[in-house]
Amino acid sequence: MPITTAYEAKIEHISILDEKGNFDEKLGKGLIPDADLVKLYEAMSSCRQLDQVAFRLQRSGRMGTYPQNMGQEATSLGAAYVLRKDDWMVTCYRENCGLFWRGVPKEAILLHWMGDERGNAMPKPHWVTPIYVPLGTQMLHAAGLTMAARYKGEDRIACTFFGDGASSEGDFHEACNFAANLKIPVVFVCQNNFWAISTPSKINSAAPTFAQRGLSYGMPCLQCDGNDLFATVYTMKKSVEYTRQTGLPCFVEMVTYRLGDHTTADDASRYRDKAEVDAWKARDPIIRLRNFMTARKLWDDAKEAALAERIEKENADAVARAEGIAAPHRADFFDSMYADIPADLAAQRDTMQTHSLGQDPSQLPPEAQERARQMAAEAEAAHH
């Protein structure tokens, strides 16, 4: 018998506006109305400025470790722009630009990195899940959320974001497999930013693309220039349309680059060359779009200056709001564990400052009981 081809595939790469300013009129014309383009540009600029503010907050001790989004603004923004406002967006931690576009308040993200769980509650009304810290686990939740929606007769889909590094995690593969086999409408978006802290993407995949990971689950796969807002919007339109119409998942790789360190606790100069970073700085999604808009007379220096002033104030206001939220009462971390706090946990909460844990105060000798009463009163007074 002759050898035949059991399977053959190709993966399209989409690029519309390149870093030299070349624009594919056929794909790009009419894709994004001019008024929207300006708003999207402003959103990216604002997100970039907030990154710088956050960096300074961390360095001055006003915020904990923070992962900058710098360079990757066009990826999640392209998705958020295309998705319906009631589609689930299930992201990782470098998708601020898309989250803000969906209406997540900036102070929610700041509050999270300022060490306050209440920041994670704010995304809920916007069909967005809170920031996920362990890599790769959230894609399964995206599948479950959408399956629940379909179960209830709702037609929303989900879009889930993760990095090239997270695509090595078992949960990523399980999520793809579950979504494909159980027919769950999820758009999987891999942000390939080439670095997982210091691990280069070639250690995470030996294949020529990350997009082809989707092939093994029978999904349609696309790759696009993740620093080209036109390309991310175009690719998401194709993908979202496919998933909404068929109820089936699909896969997108957005090729981008992490211009900053992994987080404020990282120093990327230890493991990557300046020349590489400089080359990617030339492909910055924001500069590229500004040049395009300027050439089309949609933008000028005066508008840029006015925008800079506006976003500086907006972001300062967001920081002020985040810092203005009073610290929670220390009992909060007990009270949020269960819908109804177990009696034993309530006892730990109520005696956390006065007794060894688990001690039944009524069993203490009388003088120890009196001392405990005093300590409880003092602790409560000191807290207020």
Partner: protein, 322 residues
Amino acid sequence: MANLNLVQAINLALIQEMEKNENIVLLGEDIGVNGGVFRVTEGLQKRFGEKRVFDTPLAESGIIGLSIGLAMGGLHPVPEIQFEGFLGPAYDQICSHAARMRSRTRGAFTVPMTIRIPVGGGIHAPELHSDSPEAIYAHTPGLKVVMPSSPYDAKGLLVAALREPDPVLYFEPKRIYRAFREEVPEDEYTLPIGKARTVCEGTDLTIVSWGASVIQCMQAIEKSGKSIELIDLRTIYPFDIDAVAESVNKTGRCVVVHEAPLTCGFGAEISARIMERCFLQLEAPVQRVAGFDTTMPYYKLELDYLPDATRVVRAIEDCLAY
């Protein structure tokens, strides 16, 4: 009333709650057409359809991760993990997400979910089919951990779990899946999660146990000829320390019995709590009868590993000797 074994009691609880609450969905490996490897979900796919009872790919983390999303999306999923030995791959999803979701989002997202898991040894099963990992999950804040020891309790506790707003690990001791039958009401009833049951009253000594070991304890009590109070914890977390303390303050002596390994087994916690709550009434140190700090042996030696009536009687005698 019907005379049911533990498998049938769970099946009945699932049917009755699924009829009442259309947000309950069942998922797992082989639970659909096949009805589960222990037949616990027998007939449920036929009765409720593939939308509510469905087979998944073979991936435990995927099953729990998907269930978390389903729960965040407003359903009450009931994932089955085929054997407790396969919980390992799902550990991250259970402990990093299910357990923490309410707390980390301050209640914006919650995970009402009942994970059903056959547990424990004594059925001549292959490797990794006979362990007792309940303490690992009792040690993880945000979870509730339940283990019934009889068909009546199995139904009442499962109905309660299916109405819980937080994630519950519902361990089903496979050694007593079909070991005996008892009268199980068809009418609705629940047993509160977090409340122990006094199996029999006594004055000489208290035994605290849960799951299949309760049966061994009952045999030991009969053999010993002493007046012994047996407390079946029913819920490992949150556990009913009040019931334990009340009994031990009365008897002054306590033996804790469980299948799981001794070190950091839940008996260690019970023992510490008894120190805190009953110190002045104690007549003897708390004795523990447990699995050993070894790998669970293959089944030729499993009865040497599992607590039995003889070992429990020895502990009773030691405790009473003080």
